[in-house]
Symmetry: C2
Subunit: 151 residues, 2 copies
DNA sequence: GCAGCCAATTGGAATGATTCCGGATAGCAA
DNA sequence: TTGCTATCCGGAATCATTCCAATTGGCTGC
Protein backbone atom coordinates (compact mmCIF):
# COMPACT_ATOMS: atom_id res chain seq x y z
CA UNK A 1 0.00 0.00 0.00
CA UNK A 2 1.94 2.96 -1.25
CA UNK A 3 1.79 6.37 0.25
CA UNK A 4 -0.31 5.81 3.37
CA UNK A 5 -1.02 8.39 6.05
CA UNK A 6 1.73 8.70 8.63
CA UNK A 7 0.96 8.23 12.36
CA UNK A 8 1.81 10.79 15.01
CA UNK A 9 5.17 9.23 15.59
CA UNK A 10 6.30 8.89 12.01
CA UNK A 11 4.93 12.34 11.24
CA UNK A 12 6.93 13.88 14.07
CA UNK A 13 10.05 12.03 12.99
CA UNK A 14 9.72 13.25 9.44
CA UNK A 15 9.48 16.85 10.60
CA UNK A 16 12.30 16.39 13.09
CA UNK A 17 14.41 15.22 10.19
CA UNK A 18 14.23 18.79 8.89
CA UNK A 19 14.77 20.31 12.32
CA UNK A 20 11.09 21.09 12.70
CA UNK A 21 8.55 20.30 15.38
CA UNK A 22 5.30 18.48 15.12
CA UNK A 23 2.53 20.82 16.23
CA UNK A 24 -1.22 20.31 16.51
CA UNK A 25 -1.74 22.75 13.66
CA UNK A 26 0.67 20.98 11.36
CA UNK A 27 -0.82 17.64 12.19
CA UNK A 28 -4.38 18.76 11.49
CA UNK A 29 -3.40 20.31 8.19
CA UNK A 30 -1.63 17.12 7.24
CA UNK A 31 -4.50 14.88 8.27
CA UNK A 32 -7.06 16.98 6.51
CA UNK A 33 -5.07 16.62 3.31
CA UNK A 34 -4.62 12.89 3.64
CA UNK A 35 -8.26 12.31 4.46
CA UNK A 36 -9.75 13.57 1.26
CA UNK A 37 -7.15 12.93 -1.36
CA UNK A 38 -7.95 15.77 -3.69
CA UNK A 39 -6.15 19.01 -4.54
CA UNK A 40 -7.50 21.78 -2.33
CA UNK A 41 -6.30 25.35 -2.27
CA UNK A 42 -4.95 26.87 0.94
CA UNK A 43 -8.31 28.53 1.44
CA UNK A 44 -10.09 25.19 1.11
CA UNK A 45 -7.67 23.56 3.51
CA UNK A 46 -8.36 26.45 5.88
CA UNK A 47 -12.08 25.77 5.73
CA UNK A 48 -11.65 22.07 6.45
CA UNK A 49 -9.15 22.61 9.22
CA UNK A 50 -11.31 25.13 11.01
CA UNK A 51 -13.92 22.45 11.62
CA UNK A 52 -11.49 20.60 13.83
CA UNK A 53 -9.58 23.58 15.13
CA UNK A 54 -11.74 26.68 14.98
CA UNK A 55 -9.07 29.00 16.32
CA UNK A 56 -6.48 28.40 13.61
CA UNK A 57 -5.49 31.30 11.39
CA UNK A 58 -5.14 31.42 7.64
CA UNK A 59 -1.54 32.54 8.03
CA UNK A 60 -0.82 29.39 9.99
CA UNK A 61 -2.43 27.21 7.37
CA UNK A 62 -0.16 28.82 4.79
CA UNK A 63 2.82 28.29 7.08
CA UNK A 64 1.95 24.66 7.72
CA UNK A 65 1.40 23.89 4.06
CA UNK A 66 4.73 25.48 3.21
CA UNK A 67 6.42 23.51 5.96
CA UNK A 68 4.84 20.22 4.93
CA UNK A 69 5.82 20.83 1.34
CA UNK A 70 9.39 21.60 2.33
CA UNK A 71 9.89 18.34 4.14
CA UNK A 72 8.22 16.40 1.39
CA UNK A 73 5.00 15.43 3.15
CA UNK A 74 2.80 17.04 0.53
CA UNK A 75 3.27 18.42 -2.96
CA UNK A 76 2.50 21.89 -4.24
CA UNK A 77 0.70 21.97 -7.55
CA UNK A 78 0.51 25.09 -9.69
CA UNK A 79 -1.76 25.09 -12.71
CA UNK A 80 -1.96 28.16 -14.86
CA UNK A 81 -2.24 31.22 -12.65
CA UNK A 82 -4.71 29.68 -10.29
CA UNK A 83 -4.15 29.54 -6.55
CA UNK A 84 -1.64 26.92 -5.48
CA UNK A 85 -3.12 23.53 -4.70
CA UNK A 86 -1.82 20.88 -2.36
CA UNK A 87 -1.49 17.25 -3.27
CA UNK A 88 -1.10 14.42 -0.77
CA UNK A 89 -0.06 11.91 -3.42
CA UNK A 90 3.69 11.50 -3.13
CA UNK A 91 4.08 9.01 -5.95
CA UNK A 92 5.38 10.43 -9.21
CA UNK A 93 2.35 11.50 -11.16
CA UNK A 94 1.05 14.09 -13.59
CA UNK A 95 -2.11 16.17 -13.34
CA UNK A 96 -5.02 16.39 -15.68
CA UNK A 97 -6.87 19.68 -15.39
CA UNK A 98 -10.38 19.65 -16.77
CA UNK A 99 -10.89 23.11 -18.21
CA UNK A 100 -14.65 22.71 -18.10
CA UNK A 101 -15.23 21.62 -14.53
CA UNK A 102 -11.91 22.60 -12.97
CA UNK A 103 -11.51 19.07 -11.65
CA UNK A 104 -7.98 17.82 -11.15
CA UNK A 105 -7.06 14.20 -11.67
CA UNK A 106 -3.89 12.38 -10.69
CA UNK A 107 -2.38 10.52 -13.62
CA UNK A 108 0.12 7.80 -12.83
CA UNK A 109 3.30 7.85 -14.81
CA UNK A 110 5.09 4.65 -15.71
CA UNK A 111 8.77 4.62 -14.77
CA UNK A 112 9.67 3.96 -18.40
CA UNK A 113 8.16 7.28 -19.37
CA UNK A 114 10.05 9.15 -16.67
CA UNK A 115 13.26 7.58 -17.91
CA UNK A 116 12.55 8.76 -21.45
CA UNK A 117 11.83 12.22 -20.13
CA UNK A 118 15.16 12.69 -18.43
CA UNK A 119 16.94 11.81 -21.64
CA UNK A 120 15.63 14.84 -23.50
CA UNK A 121 17.67 17.24 -21.39
CA UNK A 122 20.91 18.45 -22.94
CA UNK A 123 24.26 17.62 -21.33
CA UNK A 124 24.83 19.32 -18.02
CA UNK A 125 21.19 19.91 -17.14
CA UNK A 126 19.97 18.02 -14.10
CA UNK A 127 16.32 18.15 -13.11
CA UNK A 128 15.33 17.62 -9.51
CA UNK A 129 11.65 17.99 -10.34
CA UNK A 130 9.62 17.20 -13.42
CA UNK A 131 6.15 18.63 -13.64
CA UNK A 132 3.65 17.38 -16.20
CA UNK A 133 0.21 18.84 -16.61
CA UNK A 134 -2.46 17.97 -19.13
CA UNK A 135 -5.22 20.43 -19.86
CA UNK A 136 -8.37 19.47 -21.68
CA UNK A 137 -11.80 17.99 -21.35
CA UNK A 138 -12.92 14.80 -19.77
CA UNK A 139 -15.63 13.01 -21.67
CA UNK A 140 -16.48 10.30 -19.18
CA UNK A 141 -17.23 6.95 -20.85
CA UNK A 142 -20.87 5.90 -20.87
CA UNK A 143 -20.31 3.47 -18.03
CA UNK A 144 -19.68 6.40 -15.72
CA UNK A 145 -22.28 8.83 -17.01
CA UNK A 146 -24.58 8.73 -14.03
CA UNK A 147 -23.78 11.01 -11.11
CA UNK A 148 -20.70 12.83 -12.31
CA UNK A 149 -18.56 13.55 -9.30
CA UNK A 150 -15.61 15.92 -9.30
CA UNK A 151 -12.60 15.40 -7.11
CA UNK B 1 13.22 26.80 -41.07
CA UNK B 2 10.51 26.18 -38.56
CA UNK B 3 8.64 28.87 -36.73
CA UNK B 4 9.89 32.04 -38.39
CA UNK B 5 8.63 35.55 -37.73
CA UNK B 6 5.49 36.45 -39.62
CA UNK B 7 5.38 39.50 -41.92
CA UNK B 8 2.80 42.26 -41.64
CA UNK B 9 0.48 40.50 -44.02
CA UNK B 10 0.62 37.06 -42.53
CA UNK B 11 0.42 38.55 -39.06
CA UNK B 12 -2.73 40.48 -39.93
CA UNK B 13 -4.25 37.41 -41.56
CA UNK B 14 -3.61 35.31 -38.50
CA UNK B 15 -5.35 37.85 -36.28
CA UNK B 16 -8.19 38.28 -38.75
CA UNK B 17 -8.66 34.54 -38.53
CA UNK B 18 -9.82 35.10 -34.96
CA UNK B 19 -11.85 38.18 -35.86
CA UNK B 20 -9.19 40.53 -34.53
CA UNK B 21 -7.37 43.46 -36.06
CA UNK B 22 -3.71 43.99 -36.54
CA UNK B 23 -2.69 47.10 -34.64
CA UNK B 24 0.66 48.84 -34.27
CA UNK B 25 0.76 47.88 -30.61
CA UNK B 26 0.09 44.22 -31.28
CA UNK B 27 2.67 44.16 -34.01
CA UNK B 28 5.37 45.73 -31.85
CA UNK B 29 4.68 43.35 -28.99
CA UNK B 30 4.87 40.44 -31.39
CA UNK B 31 8.08 41.63 -33.03
CA UNK B 32 9.76 42.32 -29.73
CA UNK B 33 9.03 38.75 -28.70
CA UNK B 34 10.27 37.24 -31.92
CA UNK B 35 13.42 39.29 -31.96
CA UNK B 36 14.95 38.01 -28.75
CA UNK B 37 13.69 34.51 -28.39
CA UNK B 38 13.67 34.26 -24.65
CA UNK B 39 10.87 34.12 -22.08
CA UNK B 40 10.20 37.64 -20.84
CA UNK B 41 7.52 38.63 -18.36
CA UNK B 42 4.86 41.17 -19.35
CA UNK B 43 6.84 43.79 -17.48
CA UNK B 44 9.97 42.97 -19.48
CA UNK B 45 8.04 43.04 -22.72
CA UNK B 46 6.69 46.42 -21.64
CA UNK B 47 10.22 47.74 -21.15
CA UNK B 48 11.35 46.52 -24.56
CA UNK B 49 8.28 47.77 -26.35
CA UNK B 50 8.50 51.24 -24.86
CA UNK B 51 11.79 51.79 -26.65
CA UNK B 52 10.01 51.61 -29.97
CA UNK B 53 6.68 53.00 -28.84
CA UNK B 54 7.13 55.18 -25.79
CA UNK B 55 3.44 55.97 -25.39
CA UNK B 56 2.21 52.40 -24.98
CA UNK B 57 0.59 51.45 -21.70
CA UNK B 58 1.21 48.41 -19.56
CA UNK B 59 -2.47 47.52 -19.79
CA UNK B 60 -2.14 47.39 -23.56
CA UNK B 61 0.91 45.17 -23.34
CA UNK B 62 -1.10 42.78 -21.18
CA UNK B 63 -3.97 42.98 -23.65
CA UNK B 64 -1.74 42.35 -26.65
CA UNK B 65 0.01 39.42 -25.03
CA UNK B 66 -3.32 37.90 -24.13
CA UNK B 67 -4.56 38.43 -27.67
CA UNK B 68 -1.44 36.97 -29.26
CA UNK B 69 -1.65 33.96 -26.98
CA UNK B 70 -5.30 33.43 -27.84
CA UNK B 71 -4.70 33.24 -31.56
CA UNK B 72 -1.67 31.04 -31.07
CA UNK B 73 1.04 33.48 -32.05
CA UNK B 74 2.86 33.13 -28.74
CA UNK B 75 2.71 30.80 -25.79
CA UNK B 76 2.12 31.60 -22.16
CA UNK B 77 4.46 29.88 -19.75
CA UNK B 78 3.76 29.61 -16.04
CA UNK B 79 6.44 28.29 -13.75
CA UNK B 80 5.72 28.01 -10.06
CA UNK B 81 4.04 31.14 -8.84
CA UNK B 82 6.25 33.49 -10.79
CA UNK B 83 4.86 36.11 -13.17
CA UNK B 84 3.65 34.66 -16.46
CA UNK B 85 6.26 34.50 -19.19
CA UNK B 86 5.76 34.61 -22.93
CA UNK B 87 7.39 32.23 -25.35
CA UNK B 88 7.70 32.82 -29.10
CA UNK B 89 8.64 29.20 -29.81
CA UNK B 90 5.56 27.52 -31.23
CA UNK B 91 7.08 24.10 -31.68
CA UNK B 92 6.14 21.55 -29.03
CA UNK B 93 8.73 21.88 -26.33
CA UNK B 94 9.28 21.67 -22.59
CA UNK B 95 10.95 24.21 -20.31
CA UNK B 96 13.93 23.80 -18.07
CA UNK B 97 13.92 26.26 -15.21
CA UNK B 98 17.30 26.79 -13.58
CA UNK B 99 16.52 27.35 -9.91
CA UNK B 100 19.89 28.98 -9.35
CA UNK B 101 19.97 31.59 -12.10
CA UNK B 102 16.30 31.69 -13.04
CA UNK B 103 17.23 31.07 -16.67
CA UNK B 104 14.65 29.30 -18.79
CA UNK B 105 15.64 26.93 -21.58
CA UNK B 106 13.54 25.47 -24.34
CA UNK B 107 13.83 21.70 -24.51
CA UNK B 108 12.74 20.04 -27.73
CA UNK B 109 10.49 17.05 -27.36
CA UNK B 110 10.63 14.15 -29.79
CA UNK B 111 7.27 13.21 -31.25
CA UNK B 112 7.71 9.68 -29.94
CA UNK B 113 7.75 11.01 -26.40
CA UNK B 114 4.62 13.05 -26.94
CA UNK B 115 2.89 9.96 -28.26
CA UNK B 116 3.86 8.02 -25.16
CA UNK B 117 2.56 10.85 -23.03
CA UNK B 118 -0.92 10.85 -24.45
CA UNK B 119 -1.23 7.16 -23.78
CA UNK B 120 -1.04 7.58 -20.03
CA UNK B 121 -4.40 9.33 -19.88
CA UNK B 122 -7.33 7.14 -18.88
CA UNK B 123 -10.18 6.53 -21.30
CA UNK B 124 -12.28 9.59 -22.01
CA UNK B 125 -9.67 12.17 -21.10
CA UNK B 126 -8.51 14.30 -24.01
CA UNK B 127 -5.71 16.80 -23.53
CA UNK B 128 -5.51 19.84 -25.74
CA UNK B 129 -2.35 21.04 -24.04
CA UNK B 130 0.51 19.20 -22.39
CA UNK B 131 2.88 21.21 -20.27
CA UNK B 132 6.19 19.83 -19.17
CA UNK B 133 8.59 21.71 -16.93
CA UNK B 134 11.90 20.59 -15.51
CA UNK B 135 13.31 22.34 -12.48
CA UNK B 136 16.90 21.95 -11.43
CA UNK B 137 20.42 23.16 -11.91
CA UNK B 138 22.42 23.55 -15.05
CA UNK B 139 26.04 22.55 -14.74
CA UNK B 140 27.36 23.75 -18.07
CA UNK B 141 29.96 21.41 -19.58
CA UNK B 142 33.56 22.67 -19.52
CA UNK B 143 33.44 23.55 -23.19
CA UNK B 144 30.94 26.29 -22.37
CA UNK B 145 32.39 27.56 -19.11
CA UNK B 146 33.68 30.89 -20.42
CA UNK B 147 31.21 33.76 -20.55
CA UNK B 148 28.07 32.25 -19.06
CA UNK B 149 25.08 33.87 -20.69
CA UNK B 150 21.52 33.54 -19.49
CA UNK B 151 18.60 33.57 -21.90
C1' DG C 1 -15.69 63.75 -46.63
C1' DC C 2 -18.56 62.86 -42.62
C1' DA C 3 -21.39 60.35 -39.04
C1' DG C 4 -21.83 56.27 -36.64
C1' DC C 5 -20.15 52.04 -34.85
C1' DC C 6 -17.31 49.10 -32.58
C1' DA C 7 -12.72 47.47 -31.50
C1' DA C 8 -8.71 48.80 -29.23
C1' DT C 9 -6.10 51.60 -26.11
C1' DT C 10 -5.24 53.93 -21.87
C1' DG C 11 -4.47 55.43 -16.83
C1' DG C 12 -5.89 54.45 -12.72
C1' DA C 13 -8.44 51.81 -9.35
C1' DA C 14 -9.50 47.26 -7.69
C1' DT C 15 -8.53 42.40 -6.90
C1' DG C 16 -6.83 38.58 -4.52
C1' DA C 17 -3.44 35.06 -3.37
C1' DT C 18 0.39 35.20 -0.80
C1' DT C 19 3.90 37.20 2.14
C1' DC C 20 5.45 40.03 5.70
C1' DC C 21 5.55 41.89 10.36
C1' DG C 22 5.51 42.57 15.27
C1' DG C 23 3.59 40.85 19.13
C1' DA C 24 1.55 36.79 21.79
C1' DT C 25 2.19 31.69 22.89
C1' DA C 26 3.99 27.57 24.06
C1' DG C 27 7.28 23.68 24.20
C1' DC C 28 11.64 22.41 25.82
C1' DA C 29 16.24 23.18 28.38
C1' DA C 30 18.77 24.66 32.13
C1' DT D 1 10.63 28.55 37.48
C1' DT D 2 13.06 31.15 33.96
C1' DG D 3 14.63 31.74 29.73
C1' DC D 4 15.14 30.67 24.62
C1' DT D 5 13.13 29.82 20.38
C1' DA D 6 10.03 27.99 17.32
C1' DT D 7 5.51 28.62 16.21
C1' DC D 8 1.27 30.95 15.79
C1' DC D 9 -1.64 34.82 14.94
C1' DG D 10 -4.19 39.10 13.11
C1' DG D 11 -3.63 42.50 10.24
C1' DA D 12 -1.01 45.25 6.92
C1' DA D 13 1.59 45.09 2.74
C1' DT D 14 2.85 43.19 -1.80
C1' DC D 15 2.36 42.93 -6.56
C1' DA D 16 1.02 40.60 -10.87
C1' DT D 17 -2.99 40.92 -13.08
C1' DT D 18 -7.69 42.37 -14.08
C1' DC D 19 -11.23 45.64 -14.25
C1' DC D 20 -13.32 49.98 -15.47
C1' DA D 21 -14.84 54.02 -17.60
C1' DA D 22 -13.35 57.29 -20.82
C1' DT D 23 -10.88 58.30 -25.16
C1' DT D 24 -9.18 57.17 -29.60
C1' DG D 25 -9.00 55.28 -34.18
C1' DG D 26 -10.18 52.63 -38.16
C1' DC D 27 -13.96 51.33 -41.31
C1' DT D 28 -18.52 51.29 -43.49
C1' DG D 29 -22.17 53.34 -45.50
C1' DC D 30 -24.08 57.50 -47.00
MN1 LIG E 1 -9.35 25.68 -13.49
MN1 LIG F 1 12.87 31.48 -11.01
ZN1 LIG G 1 -1.73 15.12 -7.45
ZN1 LIG H 1 9.62 28.20 -24.58
Amino acid sequence: MPNSTLEHEAFARKLAGSGLRSTPQREVVYNVLMQKRDHPTAEEVFTRVRERRPGISLATVYNCLETLAQCGLVRQVNLEREPTRYCPNLLPHAHFHDEETGAILDVDLPASLLDKLKVVLPRGYEASVIEIAFRGRARPPLSARRTVQSA
